[in-house]
Every structure is written in structure tokens, then in C-alpha cells.
């Protein structure tokens, strides 16, 4: 084990290296470029024995890793924002073909107008593609999540997206423990799939399927997601035994006696944890529920943790125009069947990389303390 100061982008690269990926295809885009820069150097100097496929677009990058995975190779790519949007068609195809591809996505706001800064709308707008989605809050979690993603994906035959905030993680240097290769090998065995493209044993995949059978295949994809709910936690515990760090579906903090619980994802949740500590020092009964895995959505965990709160705040650094916060929509859905559930206060803030500070988050708690009825949407800090 080695402790090194690295940026979040390089944490993705090291995660791919330690997972012994065999094929990488990627197209550079700010703020993702460093991920593939380092991987291409690792391939060039022999540190990583993988095929690095240069492509002319993100659509081709995803198509190339899809082909690689279909032929039995462990495949990796990374992108951001417009690049992810360009992959959209193939994202569905990878899920339908049940290929355990893992990719990194650096959250960046969509243009126009051009932005290079963070918000989660790019990845959250891919939520119905059937990819599992993990939202990291620090660089250690980015690296560890790549390894965990392959471990789970290859058992359930579903792809996973490891998602991190532009700049707040991607370009921030901080200490990361780089696990020993032998221990990662012990945790993550080589990728094996019975159903691969093989010229010596030809089969057809993904052909025309009539209405008599399509629905059953969709059902199986959904069931695989449900199976992952348990598997993610099980593998999280196995990972903890070997590496001393646990990652589950959700990450609750001081929720047991909390009257107001704030729900958030990504680095805003990390800042919120600090805000919760400061408010607790003032005697406020507040807590935090970080949702780490957004797909499969951990409905039961969210229900269990939030049901006993008096009020729930959801902080969304994303927007589904015409509806509101995307995480808030899931949280309201999770609570809908809970009797006398707490009111939900849905905040939109920090779009296009606008800073979300500790002070801002403390203000959310203070504002909601004074409100009784839940609010479908509250815009925090918008200039009108």
C-alpha cells in the first residue's frame, strides 16, 4: 500500500490500472482529459498491459468498449457532459447486451452556454439507460469504486458509471491509498463471461426480438439491478475486510436522533457533513443522508432512514427543467407509500459549478427549521 497525493482524475486511472483493464477506448474532453492521459502513458510504458484504442468520438469510444467487453475483455472508458450525451445510444445497447463495462464520468454542466464546471445533470439524465451509478465524494472513493464496480458488474452483467464532480474532485490533489496489486487481484478475479463473441463458436446476439419476449429481457435487467442492491453491500463488506474502507448504497451520518435530515450526493454531501458537525455543536438535531448509489436506487434504505425525521431537505445540484431536482423526485417517490411521511424541501443550487459552501448548507437547515409545509422547489441563490 502506498499513500500518494493525486487528483480525482488520476484516482480513476489508478482504479483502472489496479483492475487490470484489458481494453481502453476514450476521447478527451475537459475536465476528463487527465484520466486518459495517464492511462495512455501507463499503456505506452508497459505499466498497464492493455489495448488503448484511439477513437474519433465518444460514440465510437463506447462502441469500442462494448465490442471489447462482448469479446470477453475487461473494458474501461471515461468521459464528461457532452461526451456522455454523445454516448447515449450505445449506453442503452451496453445494458441490453448485458456487458459489464465500467466508465468514469466527470460531472460537467451541459451547453449552451458553454460551461466546464460541475453539476450532476449530465449523468443523472442517463439514469434510465440501465447503468448502475455510483457518486463519489472523495478521491479515495473514486479509486476504490472502480474496483468495486467491476466486482459487482461482472457478477450481475450490468455496466457501472463511477461519477465524480468536475474540479472539486477531478482537479483536486489529496492523499489516496493505492492498494497493493496482489490484494486487488485477490479481491477481483479475472473477468469471465460464458456468453462472448467467439469466431470458433459463433452465436448471434441482440437480434430482432418480438413482443412475446422483449418484456422478459427487460424484467431480467431490472431483477439484476435488484440483485445488485444486496451485492453492492456484500462486496462493500468484503472490500472493508481487505482494505479497511466500507462503501455501501447510502452513507448516513448522525441520523439516529435527527429531526431534519439533508439528502445529497457527491462533494456537496461531503461539505454537508462538515455543516452538520458545526450545527450539532450548536445543539441542532440535524443529520445527513448521502446517497452513494443512485442506480439501483436504494428505496428501502432511504425510506428506513428518512421515515423518522420530522423534515427532509434534498439538495440537488442538477435540474430536470419542468420537474425540478432529480434526486428530490426519487426521495419523494421513496416516501410516497410511508404513512405520515415527513415533508420534503427540495433545493436547487450550485448549477454550472457555482460554489456550495458550508455556510450555504447551514442556511438550508436554518431556513427549513422555520418552515412547516414541504416545498416542491426552492431556488437557492439564483439572481433574479
Amino acid at each position: 500500500m502506498k499513500r500518494m497525493a493525486i487528483v480525482g482524475n488520476h484516482a480513476l486511472s489508478y482504479g483502472a490500472l489496479l483492475s487490470r483493464v484489458q481494453v481502453i477506448a476514450a476521447y478527451p474532453i475537459t475536465p476528463q482529459t487527465q484520466v486518459v492521459e495517464l492511462l495512455s502513458e501507463m499503456c505506452a510504458d508497459g505499466t498497464l498491459k492493455a489495448e488503448f484504442v484511439k477513437v474519433e468520438s465518444e460514440h465510437s469510444a463506447m462502441a469500442a468498449v462494448m465490442g471489447a467487453s462482448a469479446s470477453g475483455a475487461r473494458a474501461f472508458t471515461a468521459t464528461s457532459s457532452q461526451g456522455l450525451a454523445l454516448m447515449h445510444e450505445v449506453l442503452h445497447w451496453v445494458t441490453g447486451a448485458r456487458l459489464p463495462v465500467v466508465m468514469g464520468n466527470i460531472n460537467r454542466a451541459f451547453g449552451p452556454p458553454w460551461s466546464i464546471w460541475t453539476e450532476q445533470t449530465d449523468s443523472l439524465s442517463q439514469r434510465d439507460t440501465g447503468w448502475m451509478q455510483i457518486y463519489a465524494q472523495d478521491n479515495q472513493e473514486v479509486l476504490d469504486s472502480v474496483i468495486l464496480a467491476y466486482k459487482v458488474s461482472e457478477q450481475v452483467l450490468l455496466p457501472t458509471m463511477v461519477v465524480l464532480d468536475a474540479f472539486f474532485l477531478s482537479h483536486t490533489s489529496e492523499p489516496v491509498e493505492i492498494p497493493d496489486q496482489e490484494k486487488v487481484d485477490e479481491f477481483l478475479p479475472p473477468y469471465e463471461n460464458k456468453y462472448i463473441l467467439n469466431p470458433d463458436d459463433p452465436h448471434a446476439f441482440g437480434g430482432l426480438t418480438n413482443p412475446e419476449w422483449y418484456m422478459e429481457l427487460r424484467y431480467k435487467i431490472h431483477k439484476a439491478h435488484e440483485q445488485s442492491l444486496d451485492l453492492i453491500e456484500k462486496e462493500g463488506k468484503e472490500f472493508e475486510k481487505m482494505f479497511g474502507r466500507y462503501y455501501g448504497l447510502v452513507d448516513p451520518y448522525k441520523v439516529d436522533d435527527a429531526e431534519i435530515i439533508l439528502v445529497a450526493i457527491s462533494t456537496a454531501a461531503s461539505t454537508a457533513r462538515y455543516a452538520v458537525d458545526l450545527l450539532r455543536e450548536k445543539g441542532k438535531k440535524v443529520g445527513l443522508l448521502r446517497i452513494r448509489v443512485f442506480r439501483p436506487f436504494p428505496y428501502q434504505k432511504v425510506k428506513d432512514i428518512l421515515s423518522n425525521a420530522k423534515k427532509v431537505i434534498v439538495l440537488d445540484r442538477n435540474l430536470s427543467p419542468g420537474a425540478g431536482g432529480i434526486v428530490a423526485s426519487e426521495v419523494r417517490g421513496a416516501l410516497a407509500n410511508v404513512k405520515n411521511h415527513p415533508p420534503v424541501f427540495s433545493y436547487i443550487m450550485g448549477l454550472g459549478g457555482r460554489d456550495i459552501t458550508t455556510k450555504h448548507i447551514m442556511e438550508l437547515f436554518e431556513e427549513v427549521e422555520k418552515m412547516d409545509e414541504g416545498k416542491d422547489i426552492i431556488w437557492k441563490g439564483v439572481k433574479l
Partner: protein, 184 residues
């Protein structure tokens, strides 16, 4: 937790300075976040970088608005950029300049340290004569003024972390460490 803001100009190595510091602190088992002002950098334009340093895990993840200390890599930024914004009383202002701390007329509530990092960078031929790279000299001075890291650890991080002239960068940092003038 100590929060520091660095002010420089594109091309002086401000971001690399904060990365070297991150490496050095990590070597000593401490926690640090080092990050640039997130934008599109241009040579000569004012840039900022940030560092949070702690003995335990660091949770807040946003820009630093109320730094404990500031580091100014380019004296021509004084008066051009609101450098002291949010600086906490009692904090250090470390400046790359030929002048003495008392000659800079900063408010009395701050402690001031100066180092001639440009001269040191030129002496060791770091960067060009027109555009010297002062980052390693300034972090050397930093280690003396704000003693969060051992000099030897920092010098090792510099030697292994700079893209060229490792010995010269190491020597520049050491010279700055020994020549910085502190008042306050």
C-alpha cells in the same frame, strides 16, 4: 484545519506549488486538499490556488473565502487583485518581493514575510529571465513561515515532483527557506 490561498499569475507555477505541498504533507501522513481556481488559465493573468491542511480527514469541499494565510507569488498583484479578501486577523501574508515586510504597508492586523523568490529562481535558472518560475522558492519560504511540514520532506517532494531541474529546484527552495524575512 489551516486554509491557505495562493495568488500568482498564469505561468509562474502556482498550481504546481500547491501540488508539491500536497505531496509533501501526504508524505508526512497529514491530510491536505490542494486545488486550483477552476477556470481556463492564461499566461500572465491573475490565478489563485487553495490548500486546506489538517491532521484529520477534511470534509468541506468548496473554495476558501476566509483563509488563515495568503501567499503572493507576484508583487505586481498588490493593488491589482483584492488579495486580502477574507484573510483572518493574525494571518501571515507571504510575498515574493525585493522589499522588506515593513515597506509593504499591509494592515497591522496581519503578520508579513517577504522573500526574493524571483532573484532565487533566476539564480538557479528556473524558467526564463523574462518569466522565472518562482513556485519552488516560494514553497520553501512557506515551510519556514507556516511550519506545517518538515523542510527535508518538502525538499524531497520538490526533487521528485518537478518536471525539470530537480537539484536546482531543491536548492532554490532551501535558499528561500533560509532567506525569508519574517515580521510580526
Amino acid at each position: 484545519m489551516i486554509e491557505i490561498r495562493f495568488h500568482g499569475r498564469g505561468g509562474q507555477g502556482t498550481v504546481v506549488a500547491s501540488k508539491i505541498l500536497a505531496d509533501a504533507l501526504t508524505r508526512e501522513g497529514k491530510y491536505i486538499q490542494a486545488f486550483p481556481e477552476f477556470g481556463v488559465e492564461r499566461r500572465g493573468a491573475p490565478v489563485a490556488a487553495y490548500a486546506r491542511i489538517s491532521d484529520t480527514k477534511i470534509w468541506p469541499r468548496h473554495k476558501i473565502y476566509e483563509p488563515d494565510h495568503i501567499v503572493i507569488l507576484d508583487p505586481t498583484l498588490i493593488g491589482a487583485v483584492p488579495l486580502l479578501d477574507g484573510l483572518k486577523p493574525g494571518g501571515w501574508i507571504l510575498v515574493n518581493t525585493t522589499r522588506k515586510p515593513s515597506e509593504l504597508n499591509f494592515p497591522k492586523e496581519y503578520k508579513v514575510a517577504t522573500v526574493d523568490a524571483t532573484h532565487i529562481a533566476l539564480k538557479y535558472r528556473l524558467g526564463s529571465a523574462a518569466s522565472p518560475i518562482v513556485n519552488t522558492a516560494i514553497v520553501g519560504a512557506f515551510a519556514r513561515v507556516i511550519p506545517v511540514v518538515k523542510l527535508e520532506t518538502l525538499l524531497d517532494a520538490i526533487e521528485e515532483g518537478v518536471p525539470i531541474k530537480p537539484k536546482e529546484n531543491r536548492a532554490a527552495a532551501e535558499e528561500a527557506y533560509n532567506s525569508v524575512i519574517m515580521e510580526g
